[in-house]
Amino acid sequence: MSNEQKPIDFAGFMRLLTSGADPRIERTERAGSCGSGCECDPEIERSGGLGNKKMSRRASLAAMFGGAVATAGVVRAAANPLEAEAAKERKALEWEEYFKGNFRLMTPAERQQTISRLERLAEMKTGRDVHIAGTQARPNVLYGYAFNISTCRGYRDCVKACVLENNQDRRSNMQYIRIFEMENGRMNLEDGKADYFHDVPAEGHFYLGTQCFQCENPPCVTVCPVGATWKEPDGITVIDYDWCIGCRYCEAACPYWARRFNWAEPVVPAEQVNPRQHYLGNRPRKKGVMEKCTFCIQRTREGQQPACAEACPTGARIFGNLLDPNSEIRWVLANKKVFRLKEDLGTDPKFWYFMD
């Protein structure tokens, strides 16, 4: 029968283990029992789910193992009460964190809870009072960026500001922005030199900066197998660092090398941590997850410019709302000759280059 070809569901598999009955046969028998032809299990429905409680798999696992953690905390309490209390609290918070959902699917209350937990954990770890925002996208806003390759002088002040703002790993010297020193008349980025170290601007060269272009059609989002990265309504592609499994598909899919992987636990000296954070932005990452430029979501959603644009001393970086016809970015797009990188790929980056 065609029913026998279907995969075994989790509930049916559990029953197989406990009763020895073949769930495939059982499913055949119960097919259509609720009158709608679905595959729901009337027995589980009656009893309110596994273990007589209606709860998700995550919640039930948490309940099963939660007791063990509490016991461990009590045992430690005997040695150093204060320290043990802190350790106990931290363990409990980490436990809750481990079983939370995807940020996109959380209710406002759940978002607030996880933010409170993360703030408390950060305070316990670094001694800093951090603030993690969950600010939503503004309506009628689509962020766009323009980069003036005539004006950029290669100072890399933007790179420095970006690292400080976004709590990037200092040990691996992670940077979202690359400034390429290019020979005049050449447009091949592979010939660009990013680690130049001399007085700039150098004679006969221009400077072209890359970062995440916040594509309108982002290939990195398409390939993510777990839905840990997505495009926000204001056009910023973000990552839920606690949902990312670190498979690096997105890094491979990005044609612009905009994504970075944490091969080790990121290191940011406590006194250098930027305490103004966003859940989808610059809050500290962990080992084994991806990260990327978010147009400084913690700043731009508050009306500020990204740190790179604010730090640029030459005004080569133009940031603004593409939906506002009076914005600078719209003026640039309407009046200057602009181009984007690898336009033929159809990624539709919201990051343009232009010249004086």
Partner: protein, 198 residues
């Protein structure tokens, strides 16, 4: 809609062609503040009456004496000979004219009144209107600056728009920017460096 432009020296002059170009939707009145005090500018926007979408010359708290030549250069300058007479050279010790070839002081400054600027012989201007003077030659840059493609923005991406004026970045006497060493040296993996032709 009012767009605010500010910086070290200049404010916009009422020029009739602006009105036809922008028709009241472009650049509004300009605000004069010191460059290191942008936050105060924004804070006072609501308190100051702003003419409605005109290009009227409007300067908040403007005090011409505050930017007079003598505040920096000292007294004793008379006419264009001032740089050659020993006793007057000190008054201009830091001025080095590296602008377009053949330019002299009097191309911009009024000889008899060095505290004023001369708009290509047309009219006498205060220093706060230096942008207009620059724009007489650098019209492309001026156009970009008004539109939003040139100039350093000091506020966030939302309104109001506050950008530096010409002299906020360029020394009018030596407008080319100087070179310097970059910061934030990147670490580039060997394979990437090889690809990049190192």
């Amino acid at each position: 809609m009012i767009r605010i432009v500010t910086g070290i020296l200049a404010a916009l002059l009422l020029v009739s062609c602006f009105e036809s170009e922008h028709n009241g939707t472009g650049i509004g009145p300009a605000l004069l503040v010191s460059p290191d005090d942008a936050s105060r500018t924004v804070a006072t926007l609501d308190a100051v009456p702003v003419p409605d979408a005109t290009f009227e010359s409007w300067v908040a708290g403007h005090n011409p004496d505050a930017r007079a030549c003598r505040n920096c250069h000292g007294p004793g300058m008379t006419g264009r000979t001032s740089r050659t007479l020993p006793e007057q050279r000190a008054a201009h010790w830091q001025v080095s004219l590296v602008h377009a070839p053949g330019m002299t002081c009097r191309d911009c400054h009024v000889a008899q009144d060095p505290g004023s600027l001369e708009l290509l012989g047309e009219s006498k201007l205060g220093f706060e209107f230096a942008n207009e003077l620059c724009g007489k030659c650098h019209s492309d840059q001026r156009q970009d600056w008004l539109g939003g493609a040139h100039g350093k923005r000091l506020t966030g991406w939302a309104e109001p728009r506050v950008i530096k004026t010409c002299a906020g970045c360029h020394n009018p006497h030596s407008p080319a920017l100087e070179t310097r060493m970059p910061v934030a040296q990147p670490t580039i993996a060997p394979d990437r460096a090889k690809k990049a032709g190192h």
